[in-house]
Assembly symmetry: C2
């Protein structure tokens, strides 16, 4: 083991445990004590790795948010609207399947939804939700399209992260979510 491995291990174990607890009890329903107990350390030990609970939440959530933003940016470079939607949808579904619990959490917890709308808003004039709506339904979408995108994004995320579907393998789940997403967005089946 190289130097720093132990620290890294504890840090990732901490983030794993936090995510599990967040998804089970919600952000506010999870205390530092619960996270410490899950790791078998004391509360105070957590504060060596992160200086606040909010920092833990950010460390859990931010990477996936930034990844989703990159997917949407990449989608925008495609020429046709159809190709943009295809790229964004398959990237979104990949992310859901790989980070099932986390992506579900974004849609469920009120506190985390606020963070989504705030944290990634500074560098640009639009937040992640607006960007998703634009890529999936165009710059000035009809009401029907705007609602369809919302149902798609929330529905796929909630279903993909649902405990009852946890045993489904990645490829199967991905295919079903893709199919439902295409159906909702009115895209023909491939």
């Amino acid at each position: 083991m190289t130097a720093g491995t132990a620290a890294h291990d504890t840090r990732s174990r901490l983030l794993d445990a936090a995510l599990k607890l967040f998804s089970k009890h919600g952000l506010e329903g999870t205390s530092m004590q619960m996270i410490a107990d899950a790791l078998g350390v004391t509360k105070a030990a957590l504060y060596y790795h992160f200086k606040s609970k909010d920092e833990i939440i950010e460390a859990v959530a931010l990477p996936a948010l930034q990844e989703m933003e990159q997917i949407l940016d990449a989608a925008r470079t495609k020429r046709s609207r159809g190709a943009q939607i295809d790229h964004a949808l398959s990237g979104f579904v990949d992310l859901i399947v790989r980070e099932r619990t986390l992506i579900r959490l974004f849609n469920s917890d009120p506190g985390l939804r606020r963070l989504v709308n705030q944290t990634l808003q500074a560098p640009r004039d639009e937040n992640l939700n607006t960007k998703m709506k634009t890529v999936f339904a165009g710059a000035d979408p009809s009401l029907a399209d705007a609602i369809a995108v919302h149902v798609m994004s929330a529905g796929l995320a909630m279903a993909g992260g649902a405990p009852e579907f946890a045993a489904i393998d990645d490829d199967t789940l991905r295919q079903h979510l893709l199919d439902l997403g295409r159906r909702l967005l009115g895209r023909p089946r491939r």
Copy 2:
């Protein structure tokens, strides 16, 4: 005013305020102090009307849960599978549109999801989620159908209660949600 009106008024005002705060901050993120402040009374006054925070949560949530159960029971009396789905879907969408914030809350808050799975489970052998899956996708549904039902139920509920769609009038919202629900369940448009 008849006797008891003041008490009843305070009680419903309390439930209204609680629902708003629950949907904004989550169940655990909402304190008795916040509810009291929203009403302009003290914390202790709340305990005259309800003997615990859990009782407030139950009073907010239970009526809609029971109503949904009645809708599903009524749907089961229909002869054809198609008629069962149509009845359940339109009842579900009606409920979402009438109680936008609450139905969204059921799908979002981890604590309330637990209550949904527990409280209405005792009188029968199945909980509300199982019952929904059975009515919408049959007794032994394919994986594709089970996922479709989950996306439908979570997606419609989350979209119907989304703040960005709060200004949409009931009839318009109902029609769009119905259409998306039918699309997800593979039902032909009417």
